[in-house]
Each structure stands twice: as structure tokens, then as C-alpha cells.
């Protein structure tokens, strides 16, 4: 294993630019899982981000919450203002493992690990988060809902680092995060759901039911148009258009689809058939 130890962001970007196969490592909570037996991973080159202190803090501007590239779940859980303005961030963060993971895992890492079952990504997407990528070539901003193109495929080039996650500050009239797992704690989602409503409209984001975390435009349209929905089953056609679940070790496609429809139906029961 070859570890490069940059002391600053420009140095880290130089290292990523000169070795297209180098992998950035932050808290290691994904990369080091079952590490001793993952011999192939030992042969690679890593760029260690742990000393890039400028990327650690979260900050507030007049109209955005800005998470740094190294902001952890625990950083957000402890931030009283984040809990008040963006409660879904803390709700989701508190369901990512427990303190041992929350203290080390980063929001940016959750984005680039690109798991379809991520907990942090759905709430960021429901808040219209924008991913800020930086390389020696410059900065690029990509809305999170356009960041993924397929399973583990994303709009990050190998020389780019996620340096910020920018979340617009808006009043929300409705917001909910749901995670259905095998148990209440230390579980990976079988189905995840984040829903928000603001002046920008409805955002419905599904997890663990498609190759990527994704928005559900058909369900959003039902909400925007005030379509009357009389049962969970009535949502199944829209859910089927939006998601593509699979059978795997955690659940079945059929279970996931039905649970998704039931969560949507019951959580949003005050809104079906009501416009504006």
C-alpha cells in the first residue's frame, strides 16, 4: 500500500492530478471494511485527506449551509443550528452506524462511495445540495440529483475532490426521513425515503430501490398536481416508474416497492389530493 500524505489542498490536488488511479481516503469507514482480506486494495495508492484541516468545518452563509469535504456526521449532529434548519441531516446522520462511525465518516465520503443504500445522500438530495468538486483544472458545481449516472458511476473525475457540499437555506413546510432496516440501529437500509416541500416544490428521494439514490419525479408530480390517492396500491404505478429495486441479501424487490408505496402513502396522507 502506498499512502501519499499531503499537508494542504493544493498538494492533494497535485497528487490526484499526477496519479489517475490514486484514491482519496478520509475517515476510512468504507475503505477499511474487512481490510485484512481485501488484498487487492492494499496494492493501490491512496491520498490521505486527514490533515486537510480547511475542509473540516461546516459553515453558514446568508443563504447556504456549507459542509466541508471532511465534515463528519458527528459534526452535523452536534450543530444545534443544523438541527433546527435542516433536521433531516441529523436524523439521517444518527442512523449511520453509531458514534464510532459518525465520528469518522464524512458526508462527502457518503456521496462518492455512491452506495444505493446511503443514508446521508437522500437527505442532502432532498435539500437540493450541490456538490463542489475541485481539481488543478478548477472548480465545478454539480447538483447532487445529477451527480450519479449509474451504479457507482458519478460525475467526479479521478483528479477531483469533493471540497464542499452547499445546501440552500429555505423555509420547509414539510420534511421527513424514513429508513427501514432489519433493526433500529446498525442496519443498512432496505428502503430509504427523504421528502421535503419548500417554495421550490416537492422533493421525493428514494434510497435502496435503484442503482443510485434518486429523485422520484412521477411521485413528485402526483404531489404537485394534487392527485387524489386513496390507498398505497394507488401509488404503485408512479413508484414503479421512479424506482428499479432488486432482490438482494437485505430484501426483495417486491417488498421494497410495497414498503416504498406505504411509506409515501402514510407519511403524506395530509397532502394526497390537495394542491398548493
Amino acid at each position: 500500500m502506498n499512502v501519499l500524505l499531503p499537508g494542504s489542498l493544493p498538494e492533494a490536488l497535485d497528487m490526484l492530478a499526477s496519479d489517475g488511479a490514486a484514491i482519496p481516503i478520509a475517515g476510512g469507514t468504507d475503505l477499511l471494511v474487512h481490510w485484512p482480506v481485501r488484498v487487492d486494495a492494499h496494492d493501490r495508492t491512496y491520498v490521505d485527506l486527514s490533515r486537510l484541516d480547511a475542509l473540516k468545518p461546516l459553515s453558514w452563509t446568508a443563504d447556504e449551509l456549507v459542509l466541508g469535504g471532511l465534515t463528519t456526521y458527528w459534526d452535523v449532529i452536534r450543530d444545534a443550528r443544523a438541527a433546527q434548519e435542516f433536521p433531516l441531516l441529523g436524523n439521517a446522520a444518527r442512523q449511520v452506524g453509531a458514534i464510532q462511525i459518525q465520528a469518522r465518516g464524512t458526508w462527502a465520503g457518503n456521496i462518492v462511495n455512491a452506495s444505493p443504500a446511503a443514508d446521508g445522500v437522500p437527505v442532502l438530495m432532498a435539500y437540493d445540495a450541490v456538490v463542489v468538486l475541485e481539481s488543478r483544472r478548477g472548480r465545478e458545481q454539480v447538483p447532487l440529483d445529477r451527480f450519479y449516472s449509474g451504479y457507482k458511476e458519478m460525475r467526479r473525475h479521478p483528479d477531483q475532490l469533493v471540497v464542499e457540499i452547499r445546501i440552500p437555506r429555505r423555509p420547509y413546510s414539510y420534511q421527513v426521513f424514513e429508513k427501514v432496516g432489519g433493526r433500529r440501529a446498525q442496519a443498512i437500509a432496505k428502503v430509504g425515503l427523504a421528502v421535503t416541500r419548500s417554495g421550490a416544490g416537492w422533493r421525493v428521494v428514494a434510497a435502496s430501490v435503484a442503482p443510485t439514490i434518486r429523485r422520484c419525479p412521477a411521485v413528485e408530480r402526483l404531489l404537485e398536481t394534487g392527485t387524489a390517492i386513496a390507498s398505497p396500491e394507488a401509488l404503485l404505478p408512479a413508484v414503479a416508474r421512479d424506482v428499479a429495486p432488486i432482490d438482494d441479501i437485505r430484501s426483495s424487490a417486491r417488498y421494497r416497492t410495497h414498503v416504498m408505496a406505504r411509506l409515501l402513502y402514510h407519511d403524506l396522507r395530509d397532502f394526497w389530493g390537495k394542491r398548493g
Binding site: M1, P36, D43, W74, Q100, R104, Q186
Partner: protein
Amino acid sequence: MNGHSAIRNPQSAIPITFTLNGKPVSLGVDPAARLLDTLRYQLALTGTKEGCGEGECGACTVYLDGVPVNSCLVPTYQVRGQRVETVESLEPGALEPFERCGATQCGACTPGVVMTASWIREHPELLATHSIRELMAGNLCRCTGYDGIVDSVAEALREPGSGKRDT
């Protein structure tokens, strides 16, 4: 040396210095070493256990700059300049509430459980937003069930000296 072994043996040890249980330590570490293995096999602190090796069970819990982490997921080189505390740093009395409440059995989870519990005891302010059960969720126990563990932490919080540290 052929190309393959060059890939297999790419980097020599990284020299690091950190604070371990209050004392400075300097050593060279394999870049691929996990903190868990460095503690157990290089520094002979075998109180920290490996359970799952995937950050789920919490048996390998240590404090890194005062916060519980899974040492199976920490590359050792990352702790340079930081403060690491293991179960060996705890007062022996930290275990007593667990023995009284029947919250120990096979012992595999116990070092990690007591580490997280002692952290909660030092930070009772966390209970304004979190339950004991949620804070202990990263430590799995397959013998005792969790009620005894939660009761033990509640009892430890009632003892004098709770909340003494400010990390």
C-alpha cells in the same frame, strides 16, 4: 525483484508519533496497518478486541482525540499527532457497574462496551439529545441482551465523578 513484488512491497514504514494512554509513542508503521492491529501486535495492548472487522460490533472501540472510534477502520498512520486511549487506560472500577448489573458474560464485547459507557459517563450532556441506548448502539453484545448494559451505564452516571472530563 520482479514488477509484481514491487507492487506488493511499495512503501516502507511511515514514522509516526502519537500519545497513547497519556504517554508519547514513536514507531514506524506499515501504511496498510489498522490501529487495532498496531495496538495489539506492535504495542502489546491486547485489551482491544477484534469482533467483526467491519465497523459494526464496536469490540475494538478506542478513543481518538477523546471520541470513540472503531480501531478496525482507522489506518494507524492517521493517528500521528493525535491522542489514542485504549481500555487499558480506564480505572478498573469502570467495569464494576457492569458486573453488578449482570452485563458481562463471554467478555468479547466488554472492552468496547466499557469504553463507550465511560465516554458517556464523561459526557452526561449528551443525554440532553441522545438516549443511553442510542449512544451504546455501536456496541453489539450477543450474550446478555442490552437492558443490563443500559442499566449499567445509568448506574455509572449516578456515581460520583461522572462528567469529570472535558474532551
